[in-house]
């Protein structure tokens, strides 16, 4: 009964979205494709909702509190994103699970050697995460490439981020790692991620902000370039954990992001909603 009620809420929510589409001019794809997306969404949405009901603040405990504290102590991040209020909320919720993970692993993992290998030897050694937002060089390489490709000079000027140097050399990789070391740049990359997602998935019919958040969070965690169907399928994958190796339990990344999103509603504004 509980689940059925939840499902009906999601259906009505989606129906509302269909009546006031977010991207009406791009939503005229085939009927079958739309039905498939809706079916996929309803399935994932209902499951995710029950999973998202878990109290992740309690599950991750001190690390969750540390992640909240990081955002509270760095209120500049929300402003530096230079996004709309909704996109800012989504952006912060998207990276929040990674901030938890960084808080958990900060003292346990040695990243310097990984950066050295990547700078010296390139892509064979690009699979590691850096900083509070746990951004991988592979993610950033894709982001830089897409930003160069998808944004025209006017858009780049408006975004206040110039085009990135092209190529693959130790010098460019070194510059990229130094950018990743810098929280200001991580925020800039997060902004770019939201902008690139708009470019790539602006046609996608999201039922509401929560659906969009779960999609974006999955894209951030699993790789945004894999396409809508693959991302929809990955939205309930339990891959997230805060162990260095051998996790005892894994969680749905998008659910952790959604929990943060729900517990920091817009009417409360982000900073005052955080515990002091």
């Amino acid at each position: 009964m509980f689940i059925r009620e939840r499902c009906s809420v999601r259906r009505s929510s989606h129906a509302t979205e269909r009546a006031t589409p977010r991207r009406p001019n791009r939503r005229a794809a085939s009927f079958l494709a739309t039905v498939a997306v809706i079916a996929l969404f309803l399935t994932s949405g209902s499951e995710a909702l029950s999973a998202a009901d878990e109290d992740y603040a309690a599950i991750f405990g001190d690390k969750y509190a540390a992640a909240e504290r990081f955002l509270r102590e760095n209120v500049w991040i929300a402003g530096a994103l230079r996004l709309s209020p909704e996109d800012t909320r989504i952006a912060l919720a998207v990276v929040f699970p990674e901030i938890i993970r960084f808080s958990a692993l900060e003292d346990a993992i040695q990243v310097r050697g990984l950066k050295v290998l990547y700078v010296q030897y390139g892509r064979a050694y690009m699979n590691f995460s850096v900083g509070h937002f746990q951004m991988k060089p592979s993610f950033v390489e894709n982001l830089e490439s897409d930003y160069n490709r998808l944004f025209n000079p006017e858009e780049k000027s408006a975004a206040a981020i110039p085009a990135f140097e092209r190529g693959d050399s130790a010098e460019l990789r070194n510059k990229r790692v130094l950018r990743l070391d810098d929280t200001v740049w991580q925020v800039r990359y997060l902004r770019m991620f939201i902008l690139v997602m708009e470019k790539r998935y602006g046609h996608v019919a999201f039922s509401d902000a929560e659906d969009r958040l779960r999609f974006y969070a999955t894209a951030y965690n699993a790789g945004y370039a894999s396409g809508e169907r693959a991302l929809r399928r990955a939205m309930n994958d339990k891959r997230f954990h805060t162990e260095l190796l051998f996790p005892k339990r894994t969680y749905v990344y998008a659910d952790v992001a959604l929990f943060f999103f729900r517990t920091h509603p817009p009417e409360a504004n982000l900073q005052p909603a955080l515990p002091t």
Binding site: A108, G113, L117, L244, L245
Partner: protein, 349 residues
Amino acid sequence: MKRTPFPVSARIALMVLAGLASSALAQETTRKVLYSLQPGETIMRAESTIAIAAGAADIVLVTTMAKDNKGPFFVVRDGKRTGPFTGIKETMATAYAGRTDSSQKNRDCASYTPPPPPEDASATTESDQQGRQVVKFKGKTFGSHLLIFSVQTTPDGALAYLTAGDNDKSWFECSDGRKVSFGGIPAEIKFSPDGKNAAVVCQGNFSMGEMNNMSKLPPEKLQAAFAEQEKKYLYTIAGKKYGPFKSSFGAHDVWFPKTSNDMYFHVNDQLFRNGAPMMKADSFDPCQFYPTPDGKAYAMLTYENIVFSDGKTYPAPLDIVVFQDGGKTVFKWITLENNKDIVVYQRAM
């Protein structure tokens, strides 16, 4: 100081010039190949342990021949290579069989972060009967003060440092009796690896009482008072005062290295050692800076190289340890050279 991308070549050139004076200290460097990867074999770094210690290197490699970091996997341990393994769990179980800890120690940063003291040795803050605050440490009471800002105990539990505020002044005290007072609000306490040197960055010059009365100032004086309160100062437990510095100066600009008991700070493109100018550096990352205890030589790490103060340069370490031996500072580090050789270098300065 910002940990932002820095022009490595310019910075290193400056440092090398500054360090050439001490090049007479340069010693022979030893180089030893521990293991050579097979053609096409790459290290899965997150799953591997590549750690260097004063005694021996701790090498556990999980490798793959596949470009996408998928299996089959191999394990290199104690110089022997086993495998192939198809699953990563099986591989990891083999790699770390008999070990209780596969995690890596955090030696990424060269600046000193003290580990916590034993729980029963920590100084504690309490309130007295008048509602003022005191610090209790080793059976002694320090204070009372209107407010205890911060208390830190050295890892060996020998000393405690506190910052406190009263209406008329702020305090920076050590449990050994050293005490300095000043206006302003102190931030995080930093102390040296031996626990004996300590410093604190302080905001402004006004006491808590003066700040409470600021609202009574006329507008023109209020603005000047606000500007004054934005300035930063640095106080040492030995009684030295440095500043004023800009408001951007903070606790992160002051540090004690792991390898030295000297206080370093970076301000206005200048690196200072114990308050004396040491070298020009437009930006500076304390995490990559390994000075010798006497401050006459140092190594600076980038992601491409390790550069010594005498100008000698080697491939960047995957891990580094710095220790004292025979009155010299020994730098020992491990690298991957030519994308195949795992090499240990050692150099005394």
